[in-house]
Symmetry: D3
Subunit: 136 residues, 6 copies
């Protein structure tokens, strides 16, 4: 068993704000992340896949295929977008780093498994100081 990781980046706008809460309640709980006119981040995403090494290629999985799966299922939907308004898989959900990582897992699990290996970890970094890891 060996683990391979692909790093990707994307830029997106979002805010942390519940429509069923007042501006004041949102500000109290979510701080400056609740700014009504949005803010944004350069997100960094590490996708870790585990499996056996194929003796013919020396690969667990072809990283070009892994990268393509991440692009089609995640990056094309979130890069240079508004996470709260533009992304089908985030509709009606709070765009915290935790929730976003868990939803990215759901997007990737089936197509990664179809490569003959399995999704091990989604790591998502919002700023240099804050990141999240989800193992399913």
């Amino acid at each position: 068993m060996i683990y391979i990781t692909r790093k990707e980046t994307f830029c997106a706008a979002h805010k942390l704000s519940r429509p069923d809460w007042s501006l004041e309640k949102n500000l109290e709980i979510f701080g400056k992340c609740s700014n009504p006119n949005w803010h944004g981040h350069n997100y960094t995403l590490w996708i870790t896949v585990k499996g056996e090494v194929n003796p013919e290629t020396g690969f667990v999985a072809n990283l070009a295929e892994v990268s393509n799966i991440i692009r089609v299922n995640v990056l094309d939907k979130v890069d240079h977008r508004n996470l709260d308004l533009d992304v089908d898989f985030m509709k009606g959900k709070l765009s915290s780093t935790e929730v976003l990582a868990m939803e990215i897992w759901k997007q990737l699990q089936q197509p990664i498994n179809a490569l003959g290996c399995s999704l091990h970890c989604v790591k998502l970094q919002e700023t240099e100081k804050n990141s999240v890891e989800y193992f399913g």
Copy 2:
């Protein structure tokens, strides 16, 4: 003459889009940066100040004071904000990295000079791949 640099970061939403152009024209010129619902970045800002070393302190300028000037004049206005909607000094301007760096220069030049040294460079990085330097 010696040069000191302070690095700061902020997170903001923006888009590149002229209201006098159609969606199609904006998309042609600004690409995915024209997304109507905004996107965002973790910006990195390096402020370089030059001057003589004060023999009493060994400092060109006290970096705590430089940092405070950057915070009051720039960071408090742009961090976790929308550059196009929330920032007084960007009103009516295109929020390209070039224009933003030049406007940050205007915010900082006078208060930095009041410390007895002079503003040398505003360097602003939008993504790991793209940055701008402005020397006034």
Copy 3:
């Protein structure tokens, strides 16, 4: 279960030296880290907390609260200090990266648990080449 990580930094002086050993023995075992007049580092600290996502906030824990706990219990005690002379929780202990990480764990475990989640890992980097992870 999801894992969130907060990165913090601090600067401190220390040395590796046992008072019950001669200078020569300390130099033999600890090398240049035994310099009697101290040396120092920019330490980087990653605190990882695990728990369930609160559906109301989308958070495992509010990172502002996690950051505040790290500041009060660790950073305020070690930043711009001498680990061997100034830090209550390091008194009488060798300030190796291993021992420092384990003592930081003891400072954080109870207040992190009081947030309703649990401390998972203390990662401490002394230089770009050397780091330690402790899981309790």
Copy 4:
């Protein structure tokens, strides 16, 4: 139990290419990594060792000794070399990051264990976007 990690770097040439396949087949499977005249990388290697802290030294293992073991058994053989032509432990093997990480594990396991601790992980990064972890 505590985990310590040493980071090292090396520069090497290699290609991904099976001599029993045609140029076209190699290009189809390995893409531009199959360039017949080689290409190369700045590899980054993180070696993680686990064990109990020695109360006399505060160390799991002396990182100077760990570093020396990595240098003698790995770096001296691969740095500024061609992984496919010059490295004894890679002879006849595909120099994928996966295979290289597994072979580095074999070089290090016995001498690390002889220090009284145990090898936990070999992490090998080929480019900023691609890395591998092997736990034996």
Copy 5:
């Protein structure tokens, strides 16, 4: 006048070795960089362009066009290649970082100028410790 910088990366094999010198002389002058079977690097390239800001777009130059010029004139020729065997503009030249940076300048100067701005600096990093800047 404002300066914009685009960062790109490429991976290549090379060696430092003069065919008119003996192996011993090459080893004496170029050290381990003279290994006959090649070695390689992840190169990082920063291209800085200077000009006036176009008031219609807020840009000195469209970075998508700058990036495309770098790709066609440099990256497509050097990435995953052998600098000494595969690259037309390096034929018969020593592939030191200095010479490579100067030759990259020659490839880019005319197409960058055709954008209405001018090439200011080619910065090329061979390893984290070694880099070169050329201003024409």
Copy 6:
């Protein structure tokens, strides 16, 4: 004319404190950097040398020789030392980043010039947020 840069690192203890000032005055001017029991940093040093490319080697200067000059004249004196107590060229001087960069310039200028090129810049970074550049 081309510019080459060598990056080196060192770890040292220091404090900012004038013996002719009270503890209170030192604290007022130098803040937490005045802690009487010292603190410390991982310093990063970039030495930039300029000159013509030697057509025989493709080098402005052999970086192995540049690195050796930095080691003998600076690193061996400051690494794992106390800048205020252990370093001959800092005796009686305030160890601000500005002063340290200027004194490092004095150590390097003559031996670098003896290589047939000239010292262009000493850049010294104390923390990720603070750095200094000195051009003589």
